[in-house]
């Protein structure tokens, strides 16, 4: 089951999961990231504005996607994370490599 929107902007692709980004929702999004990167779409933004809860599976999908994209010379950036997502990123120290950009525009700054 996919529970995310995808918009291709040419230079980058925005994926927007919604609701609980958890052990149910994370694997299909990670699979889609892998497919996109394999197809050469290596600049990805994960728009988290509609995510109200993330668990360790969701974090794992973001980290896995980041590694996959960087291995191909691209990047994965996150935007518009809510309070719970920001709190968990900070707690796990993942905000150092998954910098929570306030907006998609900010995430795109040098692309």
């Amino acid at each position: 089951m996919t529970n995310f929107e995808e918009v291709d902007h040419g230079t980058h692709v925005v994926l927007a999961p919604e609701g609980k980004f958890n052990l149910v929702a994370a694997p299909p999004l990670k699979a889609r990231i892998d497919d996109l990167v394999a197809a050469g779409r290596i600049r990805l933004v994960i728009d988290l504005h509609a995510v109200d809860f993330i668990d360790s599976s969701g974090l794992g999908a973001l980290i896995g996607g980041l590694k996959t994209a960087r291995q191909q010379g691209g990047d994965l950036r996150i935007a518009a994370a809510g309070n719970q997502v920001r709190a968990v990123l900070k707690l796990t120290n993942l905000d150092r490599i998954l910098i929570p950009h306030a907006t998609i525009e900010e995430a795109l700054h040098d692309w």
Binding site: K20, F53, S57, G64, K67, N83, A87, V88, L94
Partner: protein, 145 residues
């Protein structure tokens, strides 16, 4: 056992199968408790929710026989703490204590470390073929995150 609690204390209970679809019911149970206790700091609720879902995930993912494990959640809100009890019928489980937060590159292994960081007490006991978890967060202190 934790006894009957203080007079007037309400317990929020949920029983069912420990399967992915039931995680939403755990979120809903805590949301109901929070609605009934408007004085609860939303930050405490949010961090407690984050912790207990990681423990619930653990039972859903590793409890065997897969799809047949039953669980019972009980949430209690007290003046100074919020508590969740989780009893599950999965196989005997030996939780690692003092979980270390994995490094930035790790794609897994954060669940228990997150729960431990956000809870003041996390107790585990195997009794009568049932795993008993007790998770407590004290209220009104400076949040960790």
């Amino acid at each position: 056992m934790t006894g009957e609690g203080t007079p007037g204390e309400k317990a929020y209970e949920l029983e069912g199968f420990a399967v992915p679809d039931q995680l939403d019911a755990v979120h809903a149970l805590l949301a109901q408790a929070a609605r009934d206790h408007p004085a609860l700091d939303p930050m405490d609720v949010m961090l407690f929710e984050t912790a207990i879902i990681e423990i619930a995930n653990n039972v859903v993912e590793y409890g065997r026989p897969e799809g047949e494990v039953r669980w019972k959640f009980t949430i209690r809100v007290r003046e100074d703490e919020i508590e969740a009890e989780l009893n599950d019928t999965g196989q005997e489980f030996t939780p690692a204590q003092g979980a270390v937060m994995p490094g930035e590159e790790a794609e897994g292994g954060r669940g228990l470390a997150i729960a431990e960081a956000l809870l003041d007490r996390i107790e585990f006991e195997r009794l009568d073929d049932t795993n008993h978890w007790r998770m407590v967060r004290r209220l009104g202190k400076t949040p960790e995150a």
